[in-house]
Subunit: 253 residues, 2 copies
């Protein structure tokens, strides 16, 4: 590392306050900065997606000695208390600051392109786990309906394992407007068609309900179900979607 790093020690520092705003959805929307944490995800993202980041935050220069820093990523040393305030998962490992990308608004009157997931998961950890499975099993686009958590919330980033950087994320409308979306439309439901006997189309929209609520009854989507023993009344929502995505991925290979 040849550049001497900037040192920030005051909680009143405007840059620190900007990064602090990345810890909740409101600040993410207002200021457009996000914080990536994680012993595996930070080095991976820095290697694979250097253009997404602008700062590398740490407390001790020894932590990043020998790291190949891309030209656009400036190292910044923080006083330990400031660093801990940003390191909400307690990784004790350098953090990356990135710019939240724009999420274009989808036009649902147009047909789907590949497998599109439509969801309004309000819990950032649940949304993150879903994004991880979506990236792992080849969903092309994820549409965040009104009420969905922010996909760059620290908890969502933590659960997603860098899935945000390989997915196309789009904004969607409210539930009421989903009913008029161009199909084919599908939704998961315990009473639907067994998805292991289903011939997956190339392009489709798969709609996920809110946590604990499912898809509205008036939604015109065809219902698909994951076959089970029947020993539990339902699957965990993230597990059900992940299994569905896997079944399609395995069937199309």
């Amino acid at each position: 590392m040849t550049r001497p790093p900037l040192l920030i020690e005051s909680p009143q520092n405007p840059q620190f306050k900007l990064w602090e705003s990345a810890l909740d959805g409101r600040g993410l929307k207002k200021n457009g900065k996000f914080l990536l944490a994680g012993l595996k995800t930070v080095p991976e993202a820095l290697r694979q997606r250097p253009d997404r980041f602008e700062r590398l935050l740490f407390t001790d220069p020894a932590q990043i000695a020998g790291w190949p820093l891309p030209a656009g990523v400036e190292p910044v040393q923080l006083a330990p208390a400031l660093f801990r305030a940003l390191d909400v998962s307690g990784t004790g490992f350098p953090l990356l600051v990135g710019n939240v990308p724009r999420f274009p608004m989808i036009d649902l009157s147009q047909p789907p392109q590949g497998l599109e997931l439509l969801c309004a998961l309000g819990d950032p950890s649940n949304l993150g786990a879903l994004l991880r499975s979506a990236a792992a099993f080849g969903a092309s686009r994820v549409v965040l309906l009104e009420g969905a958590a922010h996909p760059f919330h620290p908890k969502c980033l933590r659960a997603a394992s860098n899935a945000q950087f390989s997915l196309t994320l789009l904004r969607g409308p409210r539930w009421a407007e989903v009913n008029a979306a161009a199909g084919p439309l599908y939704a998961l439901d315990g009473g639907g068609t067994d998805l292991t006997r289903f011939d997956w189309p190339t392009d489709l929209r798969l709609i996920l309900g809110e946590e604990g609520q499912g898809v509205p009854a008036d939604c015109p989507a065809v219902r698909l179900s994951v076959p089970t023993t029947g020993n539990v009344e339902s699957l965990n929502a993230t597990v059900a979607v992940s299994v569905a995505l896997f079944a399609r991925f395995a069937a199309l290979r």
Copy 2:
């Protein structure tokens, strides 16, 4: 409801204190009582497993008016503050008190019976999600290795959706002794054999690592992997196991 319910108003009441001990693993072990919460799970468990419960707790008798109460389940009215202290998920819905069953110690020198899951998940929510998938996809027995969360912890019950009542739960030894277990032994690993091309034996032990750590390198289990796009470095652990259990369940049907 013909029996007038007992009313408890003091936090010093010995029965209340007993139920309060069900909120953590130590109290669960010491006193052997557990608390089941949930708008769907409580009525379902009362209908399907009445023999597992001894008390139904509520704050207002109107909440349980018309409930068919089995003979062995005594209704108990609690002062609102006491009820809230036990209703840690904030359901505002009657709670069931049950007796924690005995978990026999497994003899791993004996061959497996059906699909046995061996795990040491220390987070009760993660363990609960795993139990739910195990019950849904036909794992016959779940072996809780040393360090696993208590399967009747409130968070585990909440995540498992009554899976505890249909599974055979056993206690297991420490990691070091798992290496000597009778096989066939399998473990999930990103670099293993593609499990969609795997011929599942009827009887096997599937070993799950601890959160974020995986299975110890010296564990002699054959590694299986869930095929993915490669766009994320790994799957969420619960998702990976659930997909594996589903793949086996679907293949054997």
